[in-house]
Amino acid sequence: MINAILVFNNHGKPRLVRFYQHLAEEVQQQIVREVFHLVLKRDDHICNFLECGSLFGGSDYKLIYRHYATLYFVFCVDSSESELGILDLIQVFVETLDKCFENVCELDLIFHMDKVHHILQEMVIGGMVLETNMNEIVAQVEAQSKLEKAEGGLSAAPSRAVSAVKNINLPEIPRNINIGDINIKVPNLSQFM
């Protein structure tokens, strides 16, 4: 089972925090901080797995993480999950984000937190993997967007809500996330299932 999914940037600012185990808020914050410190001091080219001691109250848990440019994606899992499988799952998650946001960057995660949650929701629910087929995930997200659009068109949503981000004067826009060697232009990108 996946106990938590954490995404934070190189400075430890959380960008996505999702716990699948009931923990008090202070404990959640504490875990995010400690995980960040554990992961930060590791070189980029060593093992992607590490034991996290009693962080989750048992010795059975591992952190499996990947580092993409400015962001760390960390999954905390118990021994019932395959380490390499989770590593691929992280990749699928990032590739999916990339597809949904077109060249995803840290800012997308900040300003579209709800969307990111919805995308994640199509992959993992209650700490269990729901879908690993990227086409399927993207199709679900697209269906959602369509529904939103349809409702948006009918609703009296104020027009000022439209196109918000781009016009705002933003300081220091982070670089795009480099998602390694995947090629997004390739149609019918293979999925992990």
Partner: protein
């Protein structure tokens, strides 16, 4: 087109986020957030009804604030309102808020459940999906109560959409994990198994996860899944990668599903049906073969996916542990990975090999990789990988390579990361003991261990070395000589002083012949360390000195001078002072014969499981110390343990000779804090013993507590510094149920925690008790519960005994308390008129039916309290029955399985004399007797 268009965000939200990001300081950020929280609060509270859009915007802001680590204590109600919106976007954000910020507020849970119920019934797959995701994410007990019956129906219904089926399967899995008792097994289970054949691989994946978890608890029920899983796996593995289209990930067909299927198969032994078994073997061989093929892609994702399946296949092969051919191939494959350039693969290979080492078929094959593993220990840059290498060395160790492995581990210890030192110390100590052919090697190893990593050598380790030296005549002289030499070092670790002090105190005479280690030199050497040591060590050294008085009469006066010095006799520490005074006195007045008897050499310790092993298990969690031999050894030592300990315990407790504990390590803080009543005089024996399957005598104060429970059902039965035992019980007619709560008050795990309810032979025939075993480990601060089902067959006198045994730190704890199951618990109160009462009273006039007791009041004579006690006792309190209003009368029926016994009671207080007269009349003499006894104790 991107699936998420960036333009349609919420401007207010974006502005807020930008503001936060522009904040120059933490204070500014907090200020901005507080302003926003105030704004949102006022908007939510305001008179103006908010439209869905605004609600959504504010909820999003709250989520963002929560992400930044701030407490969100409102907005839940607004989120719940969004759930019942008909608009998808609003509903969606409502569900998101609920599942991120779950609140166990029961009022809200009911509302949330209501909304979920509506969405589940809506037959709109999108809404159903949202509702199911929410249940899976929250997974609370209330939700399980509401939906555990409903979800299996959705899961197996023919017309359910695939995506909903997927969600339903995982939803059910989550509920089963949180509240297994609420998920009913039934017809649906067989239909779930058939989902393994589903067209849609997403459904198969979700179903496999569900079945795996269910099968672990109900293997029989899901047995048919084995053949289905094998055939599914076979179709995936043998297909060309293009066959599965969408389900192929970087040229690997459905790796995630393959992994899950292989996990499912690990819930079962190898299939019995030869056809299925053959097909599975074929699959596993194919997977192993594919590993040797050249990669179809250079991308790391390709090799990851391929190896994920491979490692899982190897796990299954190890789990089955039945095909030598496959095991050896697996081992060779892992051997290749040990040298792979990918750190991840080296890590996983070390980890898998660890389990492989415990298989008898492949143990030898694993051993051939010893050099690679040792090399990994020396060269790996990553501590996680080095840790795995240590684990593997430990697992592959046997008599043939123990010396090499122990030496390498000792080497590594000098530079090892602090985080894993203690564990390595334990492992070295265990291996050295287990594979010692030559005990001089063992002694050297442990002393080295103390020299290199003294701070990480726990008490268990040095207790153990002493135990072994005491038990083995052949090593005692060598040990004395070695510790003597080791103590010569200018700076030596305190643990070495302890071991040295103990061993020289026992066996210093064996080396006293050598003028370089004459008695006086030995004494001076030890005493030179005395002032640098902590109190417990000094206490131990004082005991060594008195042992020296016996061993070496020639230095008696020197020792007496030391004991007599002010720094000893007037030491601020009570323990040290007492030892000095007593030892000085002992050495002065006792004759040589008496001294020799009192200070006799310690008797050998009974052989039993090493306390170090227990410690390692505690550290790593049960089940992680896997070694076949170890398990066998443990079993046999368990048998040893139960065969002999009674005598050990008896000798330790009853022997008046203080020799058993003179050198007692009594000052060790751990053992002192626990008051096991049976063994307070023999701490040393206790430290080393798993002993005492013998039931401890009743804990002090247990009787008082017992009496308190006669008139009440709930409360704390027993408490000391380690353990609290609470009770809750209910009784109806002749049946009852008692919940016993064991609370670990310490921060350390209790191990082998075994509570047992014991009934004497007499009691067994009249009282039926059924208990379920509890988990043998109780975490620090945790509470475990045990249920006792009670049936009263016939009336009874005694109470059952609750005996609790466990290990805390290195010490064995054993205590017993009376369990307050008393005859009066099966009382059913009976109301009756004055006339009826006296009529019955007269009917029970046979002298054997009446029991009377006149006794002095132990508590203030308060009428209200007395009334409460009589009611608590179980009988009805009959008002206006007795002509004297100061008297109390009661009536009731005792229910047993065989009979019912009517009981009448009368209590007459005499305030002046502070006395009571209690009269019981029942149809059975023994019952009158017992009830009278029980009730007399209450006033």
């Amino acid at each position: 087109m991107p699936a998420v268009s960036k333009g349609d965000g919420m401007r207010g939200l974006a502005v807020f986020i930008s503001d936060i990001r522009n904040c120059k300081s933490k204070e500014a950020e907090i200020k901005r957030i507080n302003k926003e929280l105030a704004n949102i609060r006022s908007k939510f509270k305001g008179d103006k009804a908010l439209d869905g859009y605004s609600k959504k915007k504010y909820v999003c802001k709250l989520l963002f604030i929560f992400l930044l680590g701030h407490d969100i204590d409102f907005g839940h109600m607004e989120a719940v309102n969004l759930l019942s919106s008909n608009r998808y976007t609003e509903k969606q954000i409502g569900y998101l808020f609920i599942s991120v910020l779950v609140n166990s507020n029961s009022e809200l849970i009911r509302l949330i459940n209501n909304a979920i119920k509506n969405d589940l019934a809506s037959r709109n797959p999108t809404f159903m999906g949202l509702a199911l995701h929410c249940i899976a994410n929250v997974g609370s007990r209330e939700m399980a109560e509401a939906f555990a019956g409903e979800i299996p129906k959705i899961l197996v219904a023919g017309d359910t959409m695939d995506s909903v089926k997927q969600s339903a399967a995982l939803c059910l899995l989550r509920l089963y994990r949180t509240s297994p008792d609420l998920v009913p097994m039934g017809d649906w289970t067989s239909r779930v198994v058939h989902l393994l054949n589903d067209q849609h691989l997403g459904v198969v994946t979700a179903a496999t996860s569900l079945i795996t978890t269910l099968a672990q608890k109900n293997p029989e029920e899901f047995k048919t899944s084995v053949s289905l899983a094998v055939s599914r796996l076979s179709r995936i593995v043998t297909s060309a990668s293009t066959d599965l289209q969408d389900y192929t990930y970087y040229f690997v067909p459905a790796p995630w599903l393959s992994v899950k299927l292989l996990r499912l198969l690990q819930c079962y032994p190898p299939p019995e049906d030869p056809a299925v078994r053959g097909r599975l073997t074929e699959c596993l061989e194919t997977i192993l073969n594919k590993a040797q093929e050249p990669p179809k892609s250079k991308k790391v994702q390709h090799s990851n996916a391929k190896n994920a399946v491979l490692f899982e296949a190897i796990s299954l092969i190890i789990h089955h542990d039945s095909e030598p051919n496959l095991l050896v191939r697996a081992c060779n494959q892992l051997g290749q990975f040990l040298q792979h350039r990918e750190t991840n693969l080296r890590y996983l290979a070390l980890e898998s090999m660890c389990t492989l080492a415990s298989s008898e078929f492949s143990h030898e094959a694993v051993k051939t990789h010893i050099e690679t593993v040792i090399n990994a220990l020396k060269t790996e840059r990553d501590v996680s990988v080095r840790q795995r290498a240590v684990d593997l060395l430990y697992a592959m160790c046997d008599r043939s390579n123990a010396q090499q492995i122990v030496a390498e581990m000792l080497n590594y210890l000098e530079t090892a990361d602090y985080s894993i030192r203690e564990e390595i110390v334990l492992k070295v100590a265990i291996l050295a003991e287990k594979y010692a052919v030559d005990y001089t090697w063992y002694v050297d190893t442990i002393l080295n261990l103390i020299r290199i990593a003294g701070d990480y050598v726990s008490e268990e380790v040095w207790y153990r070395v002493i135990q072994i030296v005491i038990n083995r005549d052949d090593v005692q002289g060598y040990a004395a000589k070695t510790v003597f030499e080791a103590l010569q070092a200018p700076a030596c670790h305190e643990n070495l002083v302890k071991v040295g002090g103990y061993i020289l105190g026992e066996f210093g005479n064996l080396i006293a012949g050598d003028p370089r280690s004459s008695p006086l030199i030995q004494f001076n050497l030890l005493h030179s360390k005395f002032h640098l040591c902590s109190v417990p060590t000094r206490a131990l050294l004082l005991s060594t000195y008195i042992k020296f008085v016996n061993l070496f009469p020639e230095i008696k006066t020197t020792i007496q001078d030391v004991l007599r010095s002010d720094s000893q006799l007037k030491n601020a520490d009570v323990e040290l002072q007492q030892r000095a005074v007593e030892y000085l006195r002992l050495s002065t007045i006792a004759s040589t014969d008496i001294l020799a008897t009192v200070l006799e050499e310690m008797p050998p310790f009974p052989e039993r499981e090493s306390s170090i092993l227990a410690k390692l298990k505690k550290k790593k969690g049960p089940g992680t110390v896997t070694d076949l031999e170890e398990i066998k050894k443990e079993r046999s030592s368990d048998m040893n343990g139960s065969a002999e300990p009674a005598s050990v315990n008896a000798s330790a407790v009853s022997t008046p000779s203080p020799s058993a504990d003179l050198l007692g390590l009594g000052a060790a803080p751990l053992t002192n804090s626990a008051p096991p009543p049976s063994s307070s005089g023999s701490l040393l024996v206790d430290v080393f013993s798993d002993s005492a399957s013998a039931v401890a005598p009743l804990a002090p104060g247990s009787d008082d507590n017992f009496a308190r429970f006669v008139c009440k059902n709930n409360g704390v039965l027993f408490e000391n510094q380690l353990l609290q035992i609470g009770l809750k019980s209910e009784f109806r007619q002749n049946l009852g149920r008692m919940f016993i709560f064991y609370g670990n008050k310490t921060s350390t795990q209790f191990l082998t925690f075994t509570p047992t309810v014991i009934c004497s032979d007499d009691l067994q025939s009249s009282l039926n008790l059924q208990t379920k075993p509890v988990d043998p480990t109780v975490d620090g601060g945790a509470q475990v519960q045990q249920v006792v089902n009670i049936e009263c067959v016939s009336d009874f006198m005694e109470a059952p005994i609750l005996n609790i045994q466990f290990r805390y730190g290195g010490t064995f704890q054993n205590l017993s308390v009376k369990l307050p199951i008393t005859l009066n618990k099966f009382f059913q109160p009976t109301e009756m008129s004055s006339q009826d009462f006296f009529q019955r009273w007269k009917q029970l006039s046979n002298p054997k039916q009446e029991v009377q007791n006149i006794f002095k009041a132990k508590h203030p004579m308060d009428a209200e309290i007395t009334k409460a006690k009589i009611i608590g006792f179980g009988s009805a309190l009959l008002e206006e029955v007795d002509p004297n209003p100061a008297n109390f009368v009661g009536a009731g029926i005792i229910h047993t399985k065989t009979t019912q016994i009517g009981c009448l009671l009368r209590l007459e207080p005499n305030l002046q004399a502070q006395m009571y007269r209690l009269t019981l009349r029942t149809s059975k003499e023994a019952v009158s007797q017992r009830l009278c006894e029980l009730l007399s104790e209450q006033f």
